[in-house]
Symmetry: C2
Subunit: 342 residues, 2 copies
Amino acid sequence: MDDAAAPERTTVVTLAQMAGVAPSTVSRALKGDPRISDKTRRRIAALATEHGYMANAMARTLSSGRSGLVGLVLGTIDNPFYAELMQEAVSQCAPRGIRLMLLHAGGGPIEDRTAEALLQYKVDGCLISSAELSSRAAQICAGHGVPVVMVNRVPRLHASAVTCDNRSGAEQLAALLLAAGHVKFAIVKGGDESSNSVERERAFTEYVSANGGEVVLRVGGGSSYDGGFAAGRMFAEMPVRRRPDAIFAVADIMAMGVVDALRIAEVAVPRDISVVGFDGIAPAARPIYGITTVAQPLRAMVGRGLDLLTARIGTPNLPDEMVALRGDLILRCTARVAGQSV
Amino acid sequence: MDDAAAPERTTVVTLAQMAGVAPSTVSRALKGDPRISDKTRRRIAALATEHGYMANAMARTLSSGRSGLVGLVLGTIDNPFYAELMQEAVSQCAPRGIRLMLLHAGGGPIEDRTAEALLQYKVDGCLISSAELSSRAAQICAGHGVPVVMVNRVPRLHASAVTCDNRSGAEQLAALLLAAGHVKFAIVKGGDESSNSVERERAFTEYVSANGGEVVLRVGGGSSYDGGFAAGRMFAEMPVRRRPDAIFAVADIMAMGVVDALRIAEVAVPRDISVVGFDGIAPAARPIYGITTVAQPLRAMVGRGLDLLTARIGTPNLPDEMVALRGDLILRCTARVAGQSV
DNA sequence: TTGAAAGCGTTACCAG
DNA sequence: CTGGTAACGCTTTCAA
């Protein structure tokens, strides 16, 4: 009835007709191919905007093999770090003209059917930032030449990665605590599969041992608030003599749990125990927490990750590249500081 | 050199050749078209799995007009509610075979270039859960027949929506507080553009007024922790006589801020003031907070939202539909309860 | 500097 | 029940 005037979506072909040129010319003009005369280019561009032309990404992909899609894999979202990372990724992808396909978010491995979306939608590359990457997904990427970049995680298989410099960060924290006179340390670990946790833990331990301190205790915190809370309660219940001086929680979210547990048990932070974290998530900065920490340079990390990815999309078979970015020590109030009384 | 044996990706055509049938038959067999004989179907299916056939989504979209893509628009991610919603959406989309394109996350409106992705990638529908939907994006969807479903937000333009029953929730909270003997109430609002905030605020006010209480104060909290914190500090600084008895923060994230500010000012919750929230986000349940609240039935909301969306994708021009799901009152410890001493 | 035509992999329509 | 074939909209040689 009322669709008599089917508006006939504008395509390269319709544009070509209007401009009196070939479709190929339109295609070239629109993407700025240098061998199209300025005059025709302008004419075509004008027509295009006038008619609200929008390239059909599907057709383009089918023909060119490039989709402009990047797969995003996120870790468990209870940790605000991943939410912040996601937001950063979204905002940095827009100006680069890359679209994100959200493949996974949360704990657990990637489902097979999800991994297949990689292939079906001809994803150009993959940005991964979860602890658990199913090996199937990794295989798929590797097997089909889909470049993978990991952010905040060292790669197990064929992939590039950008991480925070865990060693330097952990050392800065250790140095801070040591300078404040602490000697008996505890570490609240993430998971054993978490490369970050392992690296931070080791660097911290080594630095402390080499400088007159000792890590007397290490407890698992599962990279979650609850894990940190449980650990904190355990510390609070220890006889004071055996209790550590200072606690390094390898993630802020766990440090928050530790601090809360201590607070509830009326163990004063930092008077009785100093607590430091790692990551620099927003809630840890709230006045109620004021977690002393090392902040990951999230913006730069995502930016660098996207650089690596686009480079590899443009030029296949580039060698894997690992980049570590230094984090910033942020002094707040859960750790004693040398020469400062509480 | 070593790509001599170009593996020739398996497609419907190659499969057809192997099976000795037409491509159209393969296509039909693979999608379970009933008019293909069981025998051929099985044969083709076997071939397909054997050769690891993966349909090319781009080609399919080009030909069928349906992409299987749903655009996801998320509000500011500082509120864990959106992170939880995202996770829920991701996990519910997978089994339904729908893929998510992450269009936007964070504050601010959707960029135009992002909105255009909607068209370029032939997104089948849009799931929106942010306060700010750029009208441009909405126009684009409406103008191109892309169904839109809003979750946790009432639609301004042409769109369906699923929300929590704000009225019932607010009334449950009001009733609880009234029963505990509170009479002087304050409300910490979200933004004025937030439909949820407005609805909750109004329902709460009406119920309270109708039952012998009074809302003596309403202050903006910007739907953020910081906003709640500022509001809480303000309450703490008020002369006790003028201070409200009980505070309704229209979002848990603000309630957390309120509670922290009061705690820091050594105003006891709930002894001196009761505080209630709304949403049911995970951090508000931590022992350190224990926010009394109404939890939104997130899983059901997302499920229902996806139902509405797929229905509208399958059958265009269905009328807009608004569904409200009742939330659950969760008694924790920031609100006094009738007949209970503190 | 531009044009013509051959795909890209699927689906859908029309026959048979 | 199945086959043929024309789209879908764009890119990309190969020619001119």
